[in-house]
């Protein structure tokens, strides 16, 4: 089967004191190549654990993940990862970071230079190629991280709250860039976020997860990502449809949290 298949995955962490935490329970998902799925949920719902399992950093307690028919057993360059922040190599320049994957794969100097030049153009950082990454702003660093991931031409891009540490304005602009890259490259993308608005805007599909045990609560198919590729970001976010869906999901998460807290008067 083509695409990314998550088949009945469960994850149980054993704590040092012998207790157990059900981080994920019977999670099944199927992404066709080129789909963009946003995963949303309150903290502790296992969404990062799910991403780490897809990336191959964790082996699930039960169940399997397959990509294009091959089982995931460890990290591989077919599954690129964009982290929240602090995963760039600060001892390298922007260009060296972007060229890291091809260089590890034994590409020639000329091949690396061509690819890096192109990708730095894509993320509009050409003039910062030779800057050490620690001198770049948070938004620029995340653009380097996106370019670094694309340089390996992965089948799937896994994003773990990649815009979470950015200020609100930069974040809006970056959402537009993520959509553009998704449409231009046709990559399969799994995006973890705790921003309802971001999940709605970017997710062609949206999965809301519930905690304890981490599981899929509800799945949506959404039209906004397609509109966002062409249209004006701000206009989409004030559409009645967008606002109604946002309220629906916010209410859902709110109730979920109330339930966890025992329905108490948690403000």
């Amino acid at each position: 089967m083509n695409g990314l298949v998550i088949d009945d995955v469960s994850m149980i962490f054993t704590l040092p004191d012998g207790g157990e935490v059900h981080a994920l329970q019977n999670v099944s998902l199927h992404l066709e190549p080129g789909e963009l799925m946003a995963v949303l949920g309150p903290s502790g719902c296992g969404k990062t654990t799910l991403l780490n399992i897809i990336a191959g950093f964790l082996a699930p307690t039960a169940g399997q993940v397959h990509l294009n028919g091959r089982q995931v057993t460890g990290p591989h360059k077919e599954r690129g990862m964009v982290f929240q922040q602090g995963a760039l190599f600060e001892w390298m320049t922007a260009a060296e970071n972007v060229g890291f994957g091809p260089r590890m794969g034994g590409a020639t100097r000329a091949e690396i230079a061509a690819k890096v030049g192109h990708l730095l153009d894509v993320v509009a950082l050409r003039e910062f190629a030779d800057e050490p990454v620690y001198r770049l702003s948070g938004g620029m660093q995340q653009r380097v991280a996106l370019a670094r991931c694309l340089a390996n031409d992965p089948d799937v891009i896994l994003m773990d709250e990649p815009l979470g540490a950015l200020d609100a304005l930069t974040r809006e602009k970056m959402q537009g860039l993520v959509l553009k890259l998704w449409k231009d490259t046709g990559k399969t993308i799994v995006l973890i976020t705790h921003s309802v608005e971001e999940a709605l805007f970017l997710g062609e599909r949206l999965v809301v997860m519930a905690p304890r045990p981490g599981r899929i609560h509800k799945a949506f198919a959404l039209p906004f990502a397609d509109q966002g590729v062409e249209g004006d970001t701000r206009a989409i976010k004030i559409q009645p449809d967008f606002i109604a869906t946002r309220e629906e999901i916010l209410t859902m998460i709110w109730e979920m949290e109330e339930e966890i807290m025992g329905g108490g008067n948690t403000g």
Partner: protein, 302 residues
């Protein structure tokens, strides 16, 4: 309305006036950045110390055996019979003629060379061992008891044993400094390995890096700031250890020069040695800091 008149640059540099930014702050007590350099007072301190040194010996308040005169103290109106060499004159003669047939720079270089050699050997052995301990549980298990046992022992406590084993020649000193540097470098390298953020390692594997590539391109550069801090600490500790070792037994080096001078009651040479040791230690520290800024500009910016 605040006073708009700005203090002169000289006044700010001397620290008798706050700089224009600090002048705008209303909360100064408790704000460390509002405490200015007070350079004028530093100049005053140095001047007062030098004057006191000059004065106590000039007026014979201290016996030269306990504290040498700053200068010869022979002025045109002085009785030539009172002439005796001061520290300044002695320093000049040490530079020109040397001490006991060995030029001063050779004493200094002998000491510095021993430190550099000891730190180099300690780093060459300690860094790989520290990496092994940080990356491999067998290595950690094997080395941990030794490291934890030797770590709290001051290197000076090893001097008697080292003398028993290797005598008092160069090999003994190098070995002592090697031991002093080894454990500092080992612990620094281990800490450097442990400090790598897991997302960087994950990112490298996801980009297709192999284990050796992760070691070479992620873990090693990530550990360099800690390794450099280890080098700086080793230099300081080795310098202190070496001077002590030279005081115990040596035929060359700043420490040995001072011990010989003590036997001849040449307090001025002893004092010059003390000042030299301070100046060299300070210079090493400054050079290492400059090297760090130059070689590891990304330190603390991950």
């Amino acid at each position: 309305m605040a006073d708009r008149k700005q203090p002169s640059k000289l006044a700010v540099w001397l620290g008798v006036a706050d700089n224009p930014f600090t002048r705008q702050k209303t909360v100064k007590f408790g704000d460390a950045s509002a405490v200015n350099s007070g350079r004028l007072w530093s100049v005053a301190t140095v001047a007062a110390l030098l004057f006191a040194w000059w004065a106590v010996t000039r007026w014979g308040l201290l016996d030269p055996i306990f504290w040498p005169p700053l200068d010869g103290g022979l002025y045109p109106w002085d009785n030539p019979a009172r002439a005796r060499p001061g520290v300044v004159d002695r320093f000049a003669s040490l530079v020109v003629e040397g001490y006991r047939n060995v030029p001063l720079w050779e004493h200094v270089w002998t000491s510095v060379r021993r430190v550099l050699l000891g730190v180099l050997c300690g780093a060459l052995a300690g860094i790989p061992l520290g990496f092994a301990m940080g990356l491999n549980s067998v290595a950690r298990g094997l080395l941990d008891p030794v490291v934890e046992f030797i770590r709290p022992i001051p290197p000076l406590a090893l001097i008697p044993l080292v003398i028993l084993w290797l005598g008092i020649d160069e090999a003994a000193k190098t070995f002592l400094l090697f031991l002093a540097a080894l454990f500092i470098m080992l612990i620094a390298a281990r800490a450097g390995v442990s400090s790598v953020r897991i997302s960087k390692v994950h990112a490298a594997y996801s980009l297709g890096a192999s284990k050796p590539q992760v070691l070479r391109y992620v873990i090693l550069p990530n550990a360099l700031p800690e390794i450099f801090t280890g080098l700086r600490t080793s230099m300081g500790v080795c310098w202190g250890t070496l001077v002590a070792a030279e005081l115990v037994a040596a035929d060359q080096g700043v420490g040995s020069m001072m011990m010989v001078a003590k036997n001849f009651l040449q307090t001025d040479v002893v004092v010059i040695g003390i000042i030299l040791i301070g100046v060299i230690g300070f210079t090493i520290e400054m050079l290492m800091r400059a090297l760090e800024v130059w070689l590891i500009p990304w330190k603390g910016k991950g």
